[in-house]
């Protein structure tokens, strides 16, 4: 909304410099977003909040300024007589909710011609192209009063009847912008005896517009329902100066004032004679009254305002006060409750005059959710492991979902996606991480080690997931090591990697992550075919966990006494058939060694030439310790020997020297 200061000054005597005036308005909730010089004039650009339709006019802003600088408003002089002759035009309202008030005024024998210079200049400063005197006057009054008007060519109105009704399905109209529009029942129209001739509150129709040949006009000034107009503009994707104001609610009393003001100007600039006026008014004429309590004002604001101060503020804004009852002016229909009055008091008193105090009082339940603490620990651990955190969009493309072979029934689609690239909610973090990999490879970042914590979605639930990706450096054991470090730091039971094959993982190189035999996620090398679909030629290793499930494997951390007696460490190197897993081997060592085996630590995997084919070479350190005594070399020598023999016998292993 533009406000040329020269225009504003017609209604209020304001001498403040533009910057100061802009500041005062902004600090009262009428935000001035720009101050612009235009010739000798200065134009303020207002950014109005949706509740302040009353300021969508020059007089409206003048009213606000009048309250702020404590000077009287000078509204234009208007002749208050209307010609109430009947029979010339008939008005019928069929949608009383959509249009509770409609006025029509007939002016005969006008002379259509260009507007005088001053009027043209005013419209230009508002960014509107002058057309002819009658149309320009309706636009001028719209800006001056905030009440949109429309002038019809009376002779083109069939049967001299105006019907306000909903459009019929597929009803057509060509609007003033020359576009043919197909309507439906959600749209309110002005019709004559035969057809729709205007979109109510939005735009007039071409067929009945005022042209150079027009002699007689019908001047419409009405109140259209904000919700109905908004639905119409959205449906047609058509937003006008008129709809902007109806959507924000116009002054129910201003309907008549604006019509009279326009008539005065038309008679002055276009000549002619007013011969009829119809006013169908279903709006309540009773002003709204609200009870206001002084204590409530101060309790809510933390102020100590007196009743006189409160009254002073409200009076300046045009409210009338009788006892504790406050009467709301017709142009502030959004004010319906005590709290709305308190807001008015606060903003005119000035937010800067309300003290700043830290609250005391009762302690709110304060303990942070344990989950939140764990999440920060997860982040910290992964950062310590050298991973960078990434953050991706919550949506991905259906195409990416297909590449990953996600089950269609697990996918949530957006009804109104912005683009095809973001049309489903992500069921997994992996596609996002792969996109991060592509981006970084394209930028020449060849080593990518990243993780993400974020929600993933399925029709049944929304859950917190943790995903990680390694590429360009490290192998699956590095990735598994990171997972193990995470478990160690969070005191989660050490995870096992299962062997169930997953469509996007390379078979034999990944599977589900199990904690205490429960499936909590997956880990493995990405299937190269899937990577190719994403346009990635490098290898990529990933894991993804359901974070809540994963954290359920947590135990409390408890201190264990440090051992009092020394440990003896002996290495063992062996070759054994490929199909025997390290896990099996370690279990066998524990069962053969009994309670003196404290820890079995892997340290080498050898596939060198010394190892027979179909076999692998593994090496471990076994640490022996007793709780209550120092172990003797001799006994450990015997025990180690027994374990070696046992492994040879049970697992067909061969001890290597």
């Amino acid at each position: 909304m533009k406000v040329p200061l020269s225009w504003l000054k017609e209604y209020i005597d304001v001498k403040l410099p533009p910057r100061e005036l802009a500041h005062r308005l902004t600090m009262a909730g009428v935000e001035v977003s720009h101050i612009q010089k235009s010739g000798n004039d200065t134009i303020l650009e207002l950014d109005l909040t949706t509740n302040r339709g009353d300021c969508a006019s020059i007089i409206g802003v003048a009213r606000e300024v009048s309250a702020l600088i404590n000077r009287p408003l000078r509204p234009p002089r208007i002749s208050e007589k209307d010609k109430k002759q009947k029979g010339i035009i008939k008005v019928e309202i069929k949608d009383r909710k959509g249009c509770p008030r409609y006025t029509g005024r007939v002016i005969k024998n006008v002379r259509i011609k260009p507007s005088p210079l001053w009027l043209k200049e005013r419209l230009k400063s508002m960014g509107i192209k002058p057309i002819n005197n009658v149309v320009d006057i309706t636009n001028y009054i719209l800006f001056e009063t905030g009440q949109p008007l429309h002038a019809f060519d009376l002779n083109k109105i069939k049967e001299k009847t105006i019907v306000v009704r909903r459009a019929k399905e597929e009803e057509r109209i060509t609007t003033l912008d020359g576009r043919r529009r197909i309507l439906d029942k959600s749209i309110l129209v002005i019709a004559d005896g035969k057809r729709a001739i205007a979109l109510a509150g939005i735009m007039g129709g071409e067929a009945t517009q005022v042209t150079n040949k027009t002699k007689n006009i019908l001047l419409e000034s009405a109140y259209f329902d904000p919700i109905v107009v908004r639905r119409g503009t959205k449906r047609l994707n058509l937003f006008t100066e008129s709809s902007y104001r109806f959507e924000r609610d116009v002054d129910s009393q201003g309907v008549l004032t604006a019509s009279r003001r326009a008539r005065d100007l038309i008679l002055e600039l276009a000549g002619g004679e007013e011969i009829a006026f119809v006013d169908k008014n279903l709006l309540s004429r009773k002003p709204k009254r609200i009870i206001l309590r002084k204590e409530r004002v101060n309790v809510l604001l933390g102020t100590r305002l007196s009743w006189n101060q409160i009254k002073g503020i409200l009076k300046k804004l045009g409210f009338k006060i009788k006892g504790r009852s406050v009467e709301v002016p017709s142009y502030r229909r959004e004010i319906t409750r005590e709290i709305d009055l308190i807001e008015e008091i606060a903003r005119i008193h000035g937010y800067h005059r309300i003290p700043s105090i830290l609250p005391e009082g009762r302690i709110a339940s304060y303990s942070q959710e344990p989950f939140e603490k764990l999440v920060s620990k997860v982040r910290k651990t992964l950062v310590t492991c050298g991973l960078r955190e990434v953050v991706n969009y919550g949506f991905i493309s259906l195409e990416e979902g297909k590449r990953m072979s996600f089950a269609p029934r697990e996918i949530i689609k957006l009804i109104n996606p912005l683009t095809e690239r973001q049309n489903i909610m992500r069921p997994s973090l992996i596609p996002g991480l792969l996109n991060n990999l592509i981006h970084n490879l394209n930028q020449g970042n060849s080593i990518v080690k990243v993780f993400e914590l974020g929600r993933v979605f399925s029709p049944k639930k929304e859950q917190m997931a943790l995903g990680a990706l390694l590429s360009g450096e490290g192998d699956l054991y590095d990735l598994k090591g990171i997972l193990e470090a995470l478990c160690e730091e969070l005191a989660i039971i050490s995870p096992r990697i299962g062997s169930t094959s997953l469509p996007f993982l390379l078979s034999g190189r990944g599977g589900e992550v199990l904690v205490a035999d429960k499936r909590v996620g997956l880990l493995g090398e990405m299937n190269p075919n899937v990577l190719s679909c994403f346009g990635i030629e490098e290898r990529a290793l990933v894991f993804e966990l359901d974070l809540r499930e994963f954290l359920l494997g947590r135990r409390e951390k408890r201190f264990r006494e440090l051992p009092k007696y020394p440990a003896i460490v002996r290495d063992i190197a062996l070759s054994l058939p490929e199909k025997i897993t390290s896990e099996e081997l370690v279990q066998t060592i524990y069962s053969l060694g009994g309670e003196l085996v404290e820890e079995v630590k892997f340290f080498d995997l050898d596939r060198g030439t010394q190892i027979p084919s179909g076999h692998k070479g593994l090496a471990y350190s076994i640490s022996y310790r007793a709780e209550n005594r120092t172990l003797k070399d001799e006994e450990i020598k015997r025990l180690h020997q027994r374990i070696s023999l046992g492994l040879e016998k049970r697992l067909k292993a061969r001890i290597r020297k």
Binding site: T26, M27, G29, E31, T50, R52, P226, I227, R230, E247, R248, V299, L300, G302, R337, I339, D340, I342, E343, R347, Y351, I354, S356, I357, L358, P359, G361, R362, A364, Y366, Q368, E369, E372, R379, L382, V383, C385, G386, R388, E389, V390, V391, Y393, G394, I412, L414, I415, N416, P417, L418, Q422, N436, H439, N440, Q443, N445, V448, K449, G454, E462
Partner: protein, 334 residues
């Protein structure tokens, strides 16, 4: 006899531990292993011993001698190596361990939640997929409300949507708990908005609210001033100006003095000298009504702040899209 040998060994090893220089070490070697050393003398005189003890004692003496001379040589090696270390070109770069790091958005979120934690607020999470009721209706935005237009929304079904702000968390918490309440919530929010340098269809918000008897507008000001001063520095100018949100009344937009031009007016602050940083207000009675609170008894305030905007101002980032490209060259800078 054996005890004498072991005593010599113990003595020698203790002396060895104490030796600090090559000279001391050499003196030690001469003392214990030299021609007049106790071990040499012992071996020379082994013939004086009873015949049956000679082999084992001889072996032991020789073993001790061998061990000791090996240990002396090892220590000599270590001492020599330490003294002979060459000088280094310390202008060569160091070997940096690979560093991980948190996303700048997480870092700002942590800072923001840290400040509110110290003020007694606790973190509560809410779902990203919401219903129309929680996102709009319970927050005083019935169907057709003009403010719905400001929050253009992604829909999943007619009734479910991606939350367009974190305010639904207010409703979830108040439905379950009674005052006193001090809560903050954080996370992703979604808006149906075309992408450019300052608009993305997804960004992060922190929502906070406090409800109890006697909570008023001056408390809102106090808490937010502490917050902004902690975040942007103690001398940052702050102003509260009236605004409009359907779920608060009175509502306030909070501005800070422009960090770039220090209030002189620049392109970042559109020549106003001020930057809009958060929206806030006293919780509207209609919101209390939706959760069954008595708005005559309880009052409260709420606020919401965009995290990307704060991060952009703090780090002088001009294009919001960088946050979700996740270019490592970008991420490494924080």
């Amino acid at each position: 006899m054996e005890e004498r040998l072991l005593k010599i060994q113990k003595e020698a090893e203790e002396a060895l531990k104490k030796a600090k220089t090559l000279e001391e070490l050499e003196a030690l070697r001469v003392k214990y292993l030299g021609r007049k050393g106790p071990l040499t003398l012992f071996i020379q005189k082994i013939g004086d011993l009873p015949r049956e003890e000679r082999p084992s004692l001889g072996r032991l003496a020789n073993e001790i001698k061998k061990d000791l001379s090996r240990e002396i040589e090892e220590k000599r090696g270590r001492l020599k190596e330490r003294q002979a270390l060459p000088s280094l070109d310390l202008t060569l770069p160091g070997k940096k361990p690979p560093l991980g790091g948190l996303h700048p958005i997480t870092q700002v979120l942590n800072e923001v939640t840290g400040i509110f934690s110290r003020l007694g607020f606790r973190i509560v999470q809410g779902p990203e997929i919401e219903t129309d009721y929680y996102n709009f209706e319970a927050l005083n935005m019935p169907p057709g409300h003009p403010a719905r237009g400001m929050l253009d929304t992604f829909y999943l079904t007619k009734n479910t949507l991606l939350r367009s702000h974190t305010s639904p968390v207010q409703i979830h918490v108040m439905e379950k708990e009674k005052p006193p309440i001090r809560v903050i919530s954080l996370g992703k929010v979604y808006r149906y908005e075309a992408v450019d340098a300052s608009h993305l269809p997804m960004f992060h918000q922190v929502e906070g609210f406090m409800v109890d008897e006697g909570v008023n507008f001056s408390h809102l000001k106090g808490v937010l001033e502490v917050f902004l001063n902690e975040l942007f520095g103690p001398k940052t100018p702050i102003r509260f100006r009236p605004s409009f949100f359907p779920y608060t009344e009175p509502s306030a937009e909070v501005d800070i003095g422009c960090l770039i031009c220090k209030g002189k007016g620049c392109s970042v602050c559109k020549r106003t000298g001020w930057l809009e940083i958060l929206g806030s207000g006293m919780i509207d009675p209609s919101v209390f009504k939706a959760v069954g609170y008595d708005s005559e008894k309880y009052t409260g305030f709420a606020f919401g702040v965009g995290i990307e905007r704060i991060a952009m101002l703090k780090y002088n980032i001009s294009d919001m899209r960088l946050f979700f490209e996740n270019d490592l060259r970008f991420l490494r800078q924080f």
